[in-house]
C-alpha cells in the first residue's frame, strides 16, 4: 500500500531517472527532504544540482525555474505551502503563463504546492489558491484526490510542455493509502474521473473534498444509484465533456470545493452548465464550499470552516428531493 505522499515521491524519482532534464528546486528539499518529506532521499541519489535548496525566495526560484525551462529543462518547483505562491504570483501569472503565447517558447515547469486545511495550520498554511491560477490562461491546474492520480498526474504534469500548478492536498498525504501499479503510467491532464455512477444527481468535486463526497454517500444509503460523483482531477482545462454528459443524464448538480465560495470554481462550472445544458436542468445548482473567510486555526472554527460529509449529504438529499 502506497501513501499519497509516497506516490508523489516515487513520481519525482521515476521522472528524474527517466529524464536528466528534470530537476527539483525549493526550500529545504535537499538533505532535509522537504517540509513534508516528499523529496526524501532524492538529493542523495541526484546531488545538489538536481535537488536544489534555495534561500527563502519564492519569486526568485520561480523565475529561475522559468528561465531553466526556456533552455529545455523541466524544473519541478516545491513551494513549502501553496500559500507562499502568492510571493511568486507575478512570475507565475505574468512570466510563466504568457511566454509561450508571446514567444512560442514552451515553459515546462511543474509547481508542486501542498494545499488545503484540516490540520489546524491557520490562515497562512491551509489555503486553497486554485482559482487564482484557473483564472490565468497559459497555466494548467491539477488537483489529485487519490494516490493513483497523485502519481499519474504528477508524471503527466512533468512531461507536459506547459506550466502546471500541481496542488497536492496535505490532508491526504498520509491518510490515503492505495495499491498502485509498479509500472510507469500517467493520468492524462484534462480528464475527469467518474468515481461513482448515479442517475439522479451529479456531484462535481476534487482533492480532499472527493472524500467528503464519498463519506456523504455512506450517510445516504437510500440514495445508492442516484448519486454520481465526478472527480475533476484537472481544474484547468476542466473536462467539459464528462461534466456535461453527466448533467444531461442526472439533471441536477451539486458542486463541492474546499476553496472559498465567492469566485470559486463552482461558479465557473455553473456558468458552463447553465449555458450549455440549461434545458436538462431539473433543480437549482447548489454548492457546498468553505465560507468567505480566511482559514481559521482553532479546532471548532476550522471544523466549521471545512465542508464535510454531512454538509454534502444534507444538500445532496435536498437536491434529490427537489
Amino acid at each position: 500500500m502506497t501513501t499519497y505522499i509516497e506516490a508523489i515521491r516515487q513520481g519525482l524519482l521515476e521522472e528524474m531517472r527517466r529524464d536528466p532534464d528534470v530537476f527539483l528546486i525549493g526550500e529545504d528539499i535537499g538533505a532535509f527532504g522537504g517540509a513534508f518529506k516528499a523529496t526524501d532521499g532524492l538529493m542523495e541519489e541526484f546531488g545538489p544540482l538536481r535537488v536544489v535548496d534555495t534561500p527563502i525566495a519564492e519569486a526568485g526560484f520561480t523565475g529561475l525555474s522559468i528561465g531553466a525551462s526556456m533552455m529545455g529543462m523541466r524544473p519541478v518547483v516545491e513551494f513549502q505551502f501553496s500559500d507562499f505562491m502568492s510571493c511568486a504570483f507575478d512570475q507565475i501569472t505574468n512570466f510563466a503563463a504568457t511566454t509561450h503565447y508571446r514567444l512560442g517558447i514552451p515553459v515546462p515547469v511543474t509547481f508542486r504546492a501542498p494545499t488545503g486545511g484540516g490540520f489546524n495550520g491557520g490562515p497562512f498554511h491551509s489555503g486553497c489558491p486554485e482559482m487564482y491560477y484557473v483564472h490565468t490562461p497559459g497555466l494548467k491546474v491539477v488537483a489529485p484526490g487519490t494516490v493513483y492520480d497523485a502519481k499519474g498526474l504528477l508524471k503527466a504534469s512533468i512531461r507536459d510542455d506547459n506550466p502546471v500548478i500541481y496542488l497536492e492536498h496535505k490532508h491526504l498525504y498520509r491518510r490515503l493509502k492505495e495499491d498502485i501499479p509498479e509500472e510507469d503510467y500517467v493520468v492524462p491532464l484534462g480528464k475527469a474521473s467518474v468515481k461513482v455512477q448515479g442517475t439522479g444527481l451529479t456531484i462535481l468535486t476534487y482533492g480532499a473534498m472527493l472524500h467528503a463526497c464519498l463519506a456523504a454517500l455512506e450517510l445516504l444509503p437510500d440514495h445508492r444509484g442516484a448519486i454520481e460523483i465526478i472527480d475533476l482531477r484537472t481544474l484547468l482545462p476542466f473536462d467539459q465533456e464528462t461534466i456535461l454528459d453527466s448533467v444531461k443524464k442526472t439533471g441536477k448538480v451539486l458542486i463541492v470545493h474546499e476553496a472559498r465560495r465567492t469566485g470559486g470554481i463552482a461558479g465557473e462550472l455553473t456558468a458552463v452548465i447553465a449555458d450549455q445544458v440549461f434545458e436538462y436542468l431539473d433543480a437549482p445548482i447548489r454548492r457546498v464550499t468553505a465560507p468567505d473567510t480566511p482559514v481559521p486555526y482553532a479546532p471548532p472554527l476550522e471544523d466549521f470552516y471545512l465542508p464535510n460529509g454531512s454538509d454534502v449529504a444534507k444538500v445532496a438529499s435536498e437536491l434529490l428531493a427537489y
Partner: protein, 332 residues
C-alpha cells in the same frame, strides 16, 4: 560566531538597575512560557505546530525594553520576549496558542502570529519578511504626524533573502523613516544554513547597500544588544532615519517542535549552550553585584506563579463557537 564574554566595559552606556531587572525578568518569562508550551506540545495539547525562541531571548527583550507605550514593535515568529516587554501577558500568549475565544486573535491564528495593538505590538504573518514594509508604514505614519515614536521590526536571517525585505529596507532608507530593523540571525532558515542562503558572511553585509547604519552584535549578549539598539533607537527618535542591527545567535531547537534537526552539527548546539543569554546575563548581574541572588529568586518565583496561573486560566477558557468563523472579515 564569536563566543566572547559579555560586554561589560563600564565606560559604555549601561541600563539602570530597574531596566536590568526588567530585562532579566522578560528573558526568563519568555523561556518559562515556551517551556510550558513545549510540555503542552508533547502532551498533545497544542493542536498546531510550535516554534520557540530558546537561546534568542536577549534580542527581543533588549530592544523592546527601550520602547515607550506608543512605540511600535513588529516581532518575528520567535521573539516572544518582545511581546512580553511591550506588555502582552502570559495569559494572552497561552490563550492564543490554545486557540481560545478570548485570545488576541479569537482563535483565528496560531504560533506567534498575533499582535496586540493596544500595546502597539504588530503581527507577523507567515510569509517571511512581509512585515518589513508594513513596519515601515507604521514608521511613515509616525513621521507624517511629526511624532517622536519609533518602530522596531524583527526578522530572521532567512527572511532577508525575500524581495519584501529589500523593498522595505530601501523604502525606509529613501523616506528616512524612524525604524530599526533587527535581524535575528540564528544561522538557519529551517534546515538551510546561512552559507546556502547568501554568499556573504553576515547579514549586515547584505544590509549595507541601503544607506543606513549597520551593526553586527553578539545576540546572546543582552547588554551588547541593548547597547547596539540604543543609538539606533535614538537615531530613529531624532528623525535621522532607519538603522539595521544584526544579532547573531543560535537556534537551540529544531525549526519547530516537530523537527529533530539532525542537520545541525552538535558543536553548534554546544556553542549555543555555552553562551546561553540568560545564564550569561544572570552571571554578570550577580558577579557585578548589580542584583542579588534574592532578587533573582524572587523573579523566578513570580514567573513560575504567573506562568502556572496563566496556563490554568487559558486551559479552562472556552474555544470560540464554530459560527464565529464568519465574524469580522470586514470592519464596519
Amino acid at each position: 560566531m564569536s563566543e566572547t564574554a559579555l560586554s561589560t566595559h563600564d565606560s559604555e552606556v549601561s541600563p539602570n538597575r530597574d531596566v536590568l531587572l526588567k530585562m532579566l525578568r522578560y528573558m526568563k518569562l519568555h523561556r518559562a512560557i515556551e517551556s510550558r508550551l513545549e510540555i503542552a506540545y508533547r502532551q498533545g495539547k497544542l493542536v498546531g505546530p510550535l516554534f520557540v525562541g530558546t537561546g534568542e531571548e536577549a534580542i527581543g527583550v533588549a530592544g523592546a525594553v527601550q520602547l515607550g507605550a506608543k512605540d511600535v514593535i513588529f516581532p518575528s515568529h520567535r521573539d516572544l520576549g518582545g511581546f512580553l516587554a511591550k506588555g502582552v501577558s502570559a495569559e494572552q500568549v497561552f490563550l492564543h496558542y490554545l486557540g481560545r475565544k478570548d485570545g488576541p486573535t479569537r482563535g483565528r491564528d496560531a504560533n506567534l502570529h498575533f499582535g496586540v495593538w493596544e500595546h502597539r505590538v504588530g503581527s507577523f504573518i507567515s510569509h517571511m519578511a512581509a512585515t518589513v514594509p508594513v513596519a515601515a508604514g507604521a514608521a511613515f505614519a509616525i513621521k507624517s504626524r511629526n511624532q517622536a515614536h519609533v518602530v522596531l521590526c524583527y526578522n530572521g536571517d532567512g527572511s532577508t533573502s525575500r524581495g519584501d525585505w529589500h523593498e522595505g529596507l530601501n523604502l525606509a532608507a529613501v523616506l528616512e523613516l524612524p525604524i530599526v530593523y533587527v535581524c535575528v540571525n540564528n544561522q538557519y532558515a529551517y534546515s538551510t544554513p546561512l552559507s546556502r542562503q547568501m554568499a556573504v558572511d553576515t547579514v549586515a553585509e547584505r544590509a549595507s547597500g541601503y544607506g543606513m547604519p549597520v551593526q553586527t552584535v553578539d545576540g546572546n549578549d543582552a547588554l551588547a544588544v541593548y547597547r547596539a539598539m540604543q543609538p539606533a533607537i535614538a537615531r530613529a527618535r531624532g528623525g535621522l532615519g532607519p538603522s539595521f542591527v544584526e544579532c547573531v545567535t543560535y537556534r537551540m531547537t529544531g525549526h519547530g517542535a516537530h523537527d529533530p534537526a539532525d542537520y545541525v552539527p552538535k558543536e553548534f548546539f554546544e556553542a549555543g549552550a555555552r553562551t546561553d543569554p540568560i545564564e550569561q546575563f544572570t552571571n554578570w548581574l550577580l558577579s557585578s553585584s548589580r542584583v542579588s541572588p534574592f532578587d533573582i529568586d524572587a523573579i523566578v518565583r513570580e514567573i513560575e506563579a504567573e506562568v502556572e496561573t496563566a496556563w490554568a486560566v487559558a486551559e479552562e477558557s472556552d474555544y470560540p463557537d464554530g459560527p464565529e468563523t464568519l465574524e469580522g472579515v470586514y470592519a464596519d
